[in-house]
C-alpha cells in the first residue's frame, strides 16, 4: 500500500514538473505562432488575405489562452501553498510604504 502511495505522489509531482515546463514553453510556442503571418505574406501582391490572417490570429489567440488556462489550473496546487504563505506573511505586517 505504502509503495503504491509513494508511486502515486512521485507521479503527481513529476506531472507538476512537466506542467511547469509547459508553462515555460508556451510563450515560445505563442511567439512562433504569432510570427507565422510574416512567413505567409511576402508582399509581392498588394492585397493580403487579410481576413484569413485575422481569422488565424483570432483562432491561435484563444487556443493559447485555453492552454494557459489549463496550465494555470494544473499549477494551482503549488500556487495555493505559496499563496497561503504570502497571506500568512501579510497577516504579520503589511508593507506600508506610502504609494
Amino acid at each position: 500500500m505504502a509503495m503504491r502511495r509513494a508511486l502515486f505522489l512521485a507521479r503527481r509531482s513529476y506531472r507538476l514538473r512537466r506542467m511547469m515546463d509547459a508553462a515555460r514553453l508556451l510563450p515560445i510556442l505563442g511567439f512562433m505562432l504569432f510570427l507565422m503571418p510574416i512567413l505567409w505574406g511576402p508582399a509581392t501582391t498588394d492585397v493580403r488575405p487579410t481576413a484569413f490572417d485575422a481569422v488565424y490570429l483570432f483562432l491561435v489567440w484563444p487556443a493559447l489562452i485555453l492552454a494557459a488556462f489549463a496550465i494555470a489550473r494544473a499549477l494551482a496546487p503549488v500556487m495555493g501553498a505559496e499563496g497561503a504563505e504570502a497571506e500568512a506573511a501579510e497577516a504579520g505586517g503589511r508593507d506600508g510604504a506610502p504609494r
Partner: protein, 891 residues
Amino acid sequence: MIAFRLLVLVCLLYVGMLFLVAFFVERRAARSGIGWLRSPLVYTLSLSIYCTAWTFYGAVGYAARSGLEFATIYLGPTLVFIGWWWFLRKLVRIGKSQRVTSIADLISSRYGKSNLLGVIVTVLAVVSAMPYIALQLQSVALSFGAFADAAPKGWAIEGPASTAFWVAVGLAVFTVLFGTRNLDANEQHQGVVTAIAVEAVVKLVALLAVGVFVVWFVADGPADIIARVNASQIAAWRLQPGRWIGLTFLAGAAVVSLPRMFQVMVVENGHERQLATASWAFPLYLFAMSLFVVPIAVVGLEMMPKGSNPDLFVLSLPLMLHQNGLAMLVFLGGFSSATSMVIMAAIALSTMVSNHVVMPVWLHFVAPRATLSGDVRRVVLLSRRIAIGAILAMGYGYYRFTGGGEALAAIGLISFAGAAQVLPAMVGGMFWRGATRAGAASGLLIGFTLWLYTLFLPSFGDTGLLSPAVMTQGLFGLAWLRPHALFGVDGLDPLLHALFWSIALNTLAFCAVSLMTFPSPVERLQGAQFVNAFERGPGAQGWSRGLAEAEDLLVMSQRILGPDAAQAFFGAQARAQGVEGLLPETTPEFVDRLERLLSGSVGAATAHAMISQIAGGAAVSVEDLMAVANETAQMMEYSSQLEAKSEELTRTARQLREANAKLTQLSLQKDAFLGQISHELRTPMTSIRAFSQILMGGGLPEADAARFAGIIQDESIRLTRLLDDLLDLSVLENGQVTLNETEVSLRTLIDRALVAAASGGLTIEREAGAEAVTLHTDADRLSQVFINLVSNARKYCDAARPRLKIAVRQRGAQVEVDFIDNGTGIPKDSQALIFEKFARLTDQSRAGGAGLGLAICREIMANLGGTIAYLPGQGGAAFRVSLPRRIARVA
C-alpha cells in the same frame, strides 16, 4: 440629441458612482477585512488599465490605418502573461519580498538602494508618461467633439483644447481625492483598484456592445464581415516583419515596465495565485477587447464619410446610426479607459516622485532645520498632490504643444518606447547577479537620451524643440546624428529606428559597464536576493531581523518628534532593555514601538515609510542581512577558535595522561628495579655476613675456615661483578660510553669469546669461510656480547650433548652473527622479556649472574649501531646479532 450638459452630468454621476464604490470598498476593507477584494477577478480587471483610451478608440483607428498591426499591442502582453512562469512570477515574488512600492523603487532597491537610479527611473517614467496622458486627454476631447459634430447646435464648448483642459483639471482633482485620500499603510489602494475593476467592466461591455451591434445589426454576421474585410482598404495593409516583431516586443516590454502596470500588477498584488488566474484571464480580456476592432474599423471605413477620424469610429458609428444609448455607453467606456489610466498612472508616478525625489530632498534640506515636530505626513501627501497636478499639467502641455493632431496609437507608442528603457536594467537585475549600479545607470541614461532625441523631441513636430534643420541635417550639421537616421540607418521607420537604437545601446551600455565595474556589498546582497528570489519565502522581510543603527533611528526620530521627546523615548526603551545611555538595542519590538510612536505623530504609513524607506529603510533589510552575515562570521570565527582551544586542551590532556602513565610505569619499574637490586645485593651479603660471623666465632677446623673464607670471597666477587654490571648498564643506557673503534676480524672476536666464555662443554660449529669479515667497531664491547651469548648457551643449553652453531652472514653493509644452540629454547611468551633487566627464566643458582647480561648486550648493540634479537624457530635458543660493518659515526 444629447445635450452637452447631459454629457457632463453623466460624467459627473459616473465619477461620483466610482467614488462611492471606492469609498464603500475602503470602508468594508477597514471593517471586515478584504476577502473578496483579493479575488483574482478584481486583480485581472485592474490589470486592464493596460487598455486605455488608446485601445478603446485608437485600436480601431490603428486597424483602419495599418490593418492587423494593431494586434501586436495585445499579442506582446499576451505572450508575457502566458509566460508568467518565467518572468512575472519572479517579478511579483521580488516585489512582495522586497516590499517594492514602484518600478523606480524596484530598480533602486536592486542596485543597492541607489537613490540616483530611483531619480533616473522616476524622471524617465514621468517624461514618458506625458504623451500617454496627453493621449487620454486627446481622446476625451475627441469624444466630446464627436458629440458636438453630431449635434453642432447648442454646444457651449470652445474647442478640443478647452475640453482637454477641463478634463485634465477634473482628473487631477479626482485623482487627488482618490489616490491621496489616505496614506494608511495597510491599504493598497483597494478602493481605487476596485473602482478601476468596475471601469474595466464598463469599457469591455461598451466595446463588445458596439462590436455586436456592428457585426450582427449593421452587417450580416461574421461571414459578411469577412467578405467586407477583404473588400475594404484594410486589406491593402502590408505586414512589415520588422514592425510586427518590434511592436510585439515593445508591447510586451511596456506591460511590465509601465509604472501604472507595475503598480497594479506587483504593488497591488495580493498573492501569487492571483497571477496564475491573470495568466490566462488577462490575455482573454485583451482578446475580447481586440475581437471587434477589425469589424468596427471595416464598417466604419465603409459607412463614415471620407476624412472622418478613424480613431472615433467606435463612437461616431452609433451616433451616426442614432443609437444614442449605445453612444452614451461608448462614451462612458472611453471615459473609463482614459480616467482609469490617468488615475493609476498619476498615483504610481506621484508615489515615485514623492518617495524618490521629494522625500530625500526634504529630509536632506528641510527636515534638519525643523528641530521640532515636522509633519511628514503632510509633506508626503502634499508632494503627491502637487506631483499629480504637475503630471497632468505636463500631459496637457504635451497635448497642446503637439497640437493634438496625431493618431492615438502613434502617441501611445512613443510612451511605450520610453517606458521600455527600464527593461534591460530590470530584467538584467532579476536574472543576472553581475548587473551593477553603474551599468544600470549608464544603460538607462543612454536609452533615455536616445529615446528623447530620436522619438520624443521629434514628436513635437515643427512646433517642437528640434528645428527642421536638425531633423534633416542632424545635430551640429552632422548627418550621422539625424534623429530619424542615427548612424546613417535610414531604412527604418522612426519608431522602429528609435526603439532599435535606444534598446540596443541601452542594453550594450548596461552589460558592458556592468562587466567593467565592481558592485558594492549592498548591491551584491540585493542582487543575490533578487536573482535567487525563489530560495526565500515570500514576504520574509520585515522588522523581524536586526535593523538599522539605533543612532540613525534616533537622529530620524528627533527630526520628527523633536529632540526631547525622542530622547526620552529612546532612553526609556534603553532602560527597559537594561542598556545604559540613549541607544537601545534595535530589537523588532523596539522598532515596532518606535513605528507606533511615530505614527501617532505623523501617521502610520509615513512612520513606516520613514523607518523603512527614508532612514535607509529599504536598506534596512540589507544592512540587516549584512549584520546577520557579520554576526554569523563572528560566531563562526569564535566557535572555530573555541574548537581550536578545546582541541588543544584535549591534546594537552592526552599528553599529560600519557606522561602520567609513563611516570607511573617508570616508578613501578624503579620500584621493581630497586627490589631486584636489594634482593641481588642481599643474597651475597647474607652469606658473607653469616660465614664471617662463623669465622669470627673461631674454633673452626682449618679446612672449614678456608672453605668459608673461599665462600666469602666468591660472594664478594659476585657482588663486585653485579655492581660492575649495574654501573656498566647505567653508562650504556645513558649513552655516555666512549667507543674504542678499531679494525678487527670477526673470526678473532669469536675465537676470543669462545676462549673467554670457557665453552668447554659445548660443541661449537663454525663456518670458517664466512667469518673472514673485517669489522670497524669497538672490539671489546662486541666480544663482550659474544662472550655473554656463548656463556648463556653454555649455562642454559639443556641438551644431552650441547652444541652451539655460530653462523655468519653478510647482508649489504650489515653483518649478521647467529648463535644457535640445540636446547629447548625460550618459551614464546618469555621471548619479549629476556632482554629486560633481571630477567631470568630459571632459578639463579644455575645462572650465577644477576640477569643483566642480555640487557647489557642490547645496550651495547644499540651503541654499536646494531641490534640483538631472539630468533625463534631454530630448534633451540637462537640469538641474532646484526651490526654494520663500519660503525656509523653518530654526532
